[in-house]
Symmetry: C2
Subunit: 147 residues, 2 copies
DNA sequence: GTCAATGCAAATCGTTTGCATGAAC
DNA sequence: GTTCATGCAAACGATTTGCATTGAC
């Protein structure tokens, strides 16, 4: 385990204590899965990974959903709506970015365009909206699948 | 009924015939609903509207879903993923646009920013993706809900 | 008459909930 | 010991499917 990962776990402990809640192995496991993988995972994929990586633990799918909601609420992870592929989660240590998604093989490329971000803010302002989040996905075929 | 609406119905008849399929009242009703309303509707909202507007017809919810898939496939309508609000449909007579969505009252503002569109294409090209579609939603609070 | 399209009910998928039990504090 | 979190199974909402029937051609 890297130092960074332990930091996030410490952060979780702090938040849980501060909220007067209880620190459980299950929440730590769900967070660990997302910290140690760079992919975007669905709740079910996380559940399956837990069964592989922590075979001695007994974590129910409902607990995975509950842990994910909690972790998102306290901003330790993010969720992204991947259209027909449903909701996926990623850890929140990375900076904001959007996604380029191959509809054939599922490959995902992350990108960030400052100018687009600025223009989004401008559009919101023009329409008197206070933006809380945005979601932008470009769907298409990656180089390999386009042959 | 305006001339434009009848045009779209004619288009549907043409497509159905060309594909060797059958022209049914149900498909026409679903398309009519979307043509005559400027809102974004879910499958269930369309189903309920049919019961109100065409009380003598007997259209099942399954047929609504099947008609929507078909109409989207032949590009007469579009669907948009509205995050937690699910999938919604709109007719395809309008030009491409994105959405600004109020998470409180559900208000939707459509917008188009040429520069953003251009930059999206550029990002795709740089990553050797062939874009087929994109989805961009800005979520936030509208003026009224932000008070 | 043929074959696609329909209505209905059952099935499915992803997610949430109620509740009795177990674990953290 | 109290209270929160869990596992399990049942419930849920949205969508899909199987199948016998109907309707377009």
């Amino acid at each position: 385990m890297s130092t960074m990962n332990e930091d996030v776990i410490e952060e979780l402990k702090k938040i849980v204590k501060q909220k007067g809640l209880k620190y459980t192995e299950q929440r730590e496991i769900v967070l660990s899965i997302l910290i140690n993988i760079s992919e975007h995972l669905s709740a079910e994929e996380i559940y399956n990974l837990i069964k592989v990586k922590y075979p001695n633990s007994n974590v129910g799918i409902a607990t995975v959903y509950r842990a994910l909601s909690f972790l998102e609420e306290v901003q330790l992870i993010n969720s992204i709506e991947f259209g027909k592929d449903g909701k996926k989660y990623e850890n929140n240590t990375k900076t904001h970015h959007d996604h380029l998604i191959c509809t054939d093989c599922g490959k995902i490329v992350e990108f960030l365009d400052e100018e687009i971000e600025k223009r989004q803010d401008r559009i919101a302002k023009k329409n008197k909206f206070k933006i809380t989040s945005h979601s932008m996905q470009l769907y298409g075929l990656c180089e390999t699948c386009n042959k």
